[in-house]
Amino acid sequence: MIDVLIVGGGGAGLRAAIAVAECDPTLEVAVVSKVYPMRSHTVSAEGGAAGVIGVDDTLDEHCYDTISGGDWLCDQDAVEMFIAEAPKELIQLEHWGCPWSREPDGRVAVRPFGGMKKERTWYAADKTGFHLLHTLFQTTLKYGEIKRYDEWYVTRLIVDDGRVYGAVAVDIRTGRIETIPARSVILATGGCGKIFPFTTNAAIKTGDGMALAYRAGAPLKDMEFVQYHPTGLPFTGILITEAARAEGGWLINKDGYRYLQDYDLGTPTPTPKLRSMELGPRDRLSQAFVHEQHRGRTVETPYGPVVYLDLRHLGEARIDARIPFVRELCRSYQNLDPATDLIPVRPVVHYMMGGIHTDLDGATPIAGLYAAGETACVSINGANRLGSNSLPEILVFGRRAGVAAAEFARSHRQAEAPAVQAQGRDEERRLTHLRGDGKKGERIADLREEMQHTLEGAAGIYRTGDVLAKAVDSLAELRQRASEARLDDSSTAFNTELLNWLELGCMLDIAETVVACALNRTESRGAHQRTDFEQRDDAGFLAHSLVHRAPDGSPSVGLLPVTITRWPPGERVYGR
């Protein structure tokens, strides 16, 4: 019997695992992950992690930046708690060995970041997520009590009478299906960027945890808020970190003009100015790109329109010292050198502000079920996350969920419910019948691409009611077709085709909630921009979207008020 079962081995999951082990070494804690933990997508985070540390900085200023950046959709009690705990978590990572970049006197260095009024973003060059993940993973190895299920895929949560009792998972290597009873479960599976065709997200980001919770009856929150990062490489979608602009990079259009000055983001200065121009928030920068495109001021390429990120004036030495990975990525994947060449970039789906509805301890409405990180929505990110808030988020809420789940496990020691084995057997039957079932339907990849293009067309940077309504129907039809998809692989050994099909099912569920929430929100706020409702509507929508799965499988959307403590809704002001 596992006390705390953690689904997902990225930053949030590993931080939670350490928290459980430190809370009570007698607890059985297990991390089940569909990839080896050090392969998790936290590894790709580049720019940094925000935490107030400077003598001229205050917690309130970080709160205000986050809340205004989120267009007042953040829960302010959550933001205040998060921002107060973030520096401690970053120091904890330092104590565990994270190689943070340093000032000459040995203190941790900080850099500017988009939407932040003070320099407070800690960084490990531009491989912050990589170092953070490996530090966490290597630190978990110190705790012998943390059991791992590497390359196991959870297909279902076992829930009975409003409480979670464990999960069913497939050992990808052998195909063995196992019921894992657990007293509490933490979902930490990250985001769902792969529901879109063009994303910085890794192949594994298929919204599995969100779908598991949603199917088990837990609501998802704010799913219409999808972040486009303004600077992705055009073919691959590889992220060029915001740190490139924090270090002084410029965004220019086809005429070499710093076009952000035309979109109420400030006036150009030679060196970066905080909360201004290239250091504006990501939603506003990505929206500005669309307007540039409509004005014919972007550059056409075989992979769509682009603008340029200009780092040439920074010089080779600064690029190598501060953003070496940017140079490495450009050279390897774009065949150019940012020290001498312009980098073509376009907005790319990067982050899901929405996720599983939780409280400040990561608790969902299902007893014993917790969620943390990108898969959860507390919410601290509101309608638009600020760059460098997500890494501290996985640490702060990973730890909190770990502590809360450990506490739950300790106080709920009764024997397992009869439902556990019955539900486990049901799931085993379902999965066994799926593998290489000989059906000759459509290919998984074709269905996946159709879903991705449906989402891009309906729930991209700008949205409109008619198109969203059509997407509801398209996705329902796709779900039907996906249930009859072609599965050729009958092997039990490392059957990635079955895995891809299960992931597609998760993505379709998540895609439906994104579209349903976007259709329901008839206003424009942060990353959700409706061309048919262009204004923010605080009277109607200063509220979270809360989406449940109806008995017929369709999403049912309601609203939940936002918690406001000290910062009443106001205008988002950048560059003036």
Partner: protein, 253 residues
């Protein structure tokens, strides 16, 4: 990637390149067999793009690992024309008209097709105690341990290991002796040994015939490393440390 653009380009691309892919399905293959697939020869495609084309369009039964496709997650290491490579960063343009032979990383048991069993590395990694070891009271969570940029530089290179295991696949010692601790694990031990904040002692773990002394200094690991970690240097440096320590037992590093 954008699929519409991809479609247009594929129509424009009349040329194809042949991938000769090692298949191993434990239920049906006694030993690995090669299967050939022709995929579009696109000048900006990596070998991984070709494999995904096979998986998505030609043969759903092919299994391989991949995730970030930006050279940082370490999943997609394979043997490409005899060399251990990250397939996301290995481009068709290197191989002319082909064919390209793709096999699982050498030196590891094959689970299925291009997927190898790397659990042995995970055991070895844990064995070298790859975490910061401190003696005495920890600092409170209000202050960091000071570390100058020079002190950071002393171990930074070894902290860049992505655990892709190309170095093990390239290592002539590991291929013959699976007990050899191997390049990445030793480099990661050195990552902590050389960290000014670390007070641990890994001498007994490293000063062994199956650890640093097993290395014959061929340097293949360093040549294979896609992240310029230079594990060969890490091993040679520790040999020196261990030798000095054998003469001067009170010296730590």
């Amino acid at each position: 990637m954008t699929d519409t653009a991809e479609t247009i380009r594929q129509q424009a691309a009349a040329r194809t390149i042949r991938l000769e892919v090692a298949r191993y399905r434990p239920e049906q293959d006694g030993e690995p067999v090669f299967q050939s697939y022709d995929v579009p020869l696109m000048d900006d495609w990596a070998v991984l793009d070709g494999l995904n084309y096979v998986k998505d369009r030609l043969d759903g039964t092919l299994s391989f690992r991949w995730s970030c496709r930006m050279g940082i997650c370490g999943s997609c290491g394979m043997n490409v024309n005899g060399e251990p490579r990250l397939t996301c960063g290995t481009f068709f343009t290197e191989y002319g008209d082909g064919p390209i032979r793709i096999e699982p990383l050498k030196g590891f048991p094959v689970i299925r097709d291009l997927v190898v069993d790397i659990d042995d590395f995970l055991v070895k990694l844990q064995h070298v105690q790859p975490w910061l070891i401190r003696e005495g009271e920890e600092l409170p969570l209000t202050a960091e341990y000071a570390q100058t940029p020079e002190q950071l530089e002393a171990y930074k290179q070894y902290s860049m290991c992505i655990n892709c295991l190309l170095c093990y696949s390239a290592c002539p010692v590991y291929v013959l002796d699976p007990d050899f601790l191997g390049p990445a694990a030793i480099a990661l031990a050195q990552r902590y040994n050389l960290d000014s904040r670390d007070q641990g002692d890994r001498f007994d773990l490293l000063n062994l015939d199956e650890a640093v002394w097993g290395c014959t200094f061929v340097g293949e690991c360093t040549r294979a490393c896609p992240k310029h970690v230079d594990p060969a240097e890490a091993i040679q440096r520790y040999k020196l440390t261990a030798a000095i320590r054998s003469i001067l037992p009170w010296s730590r590093r």
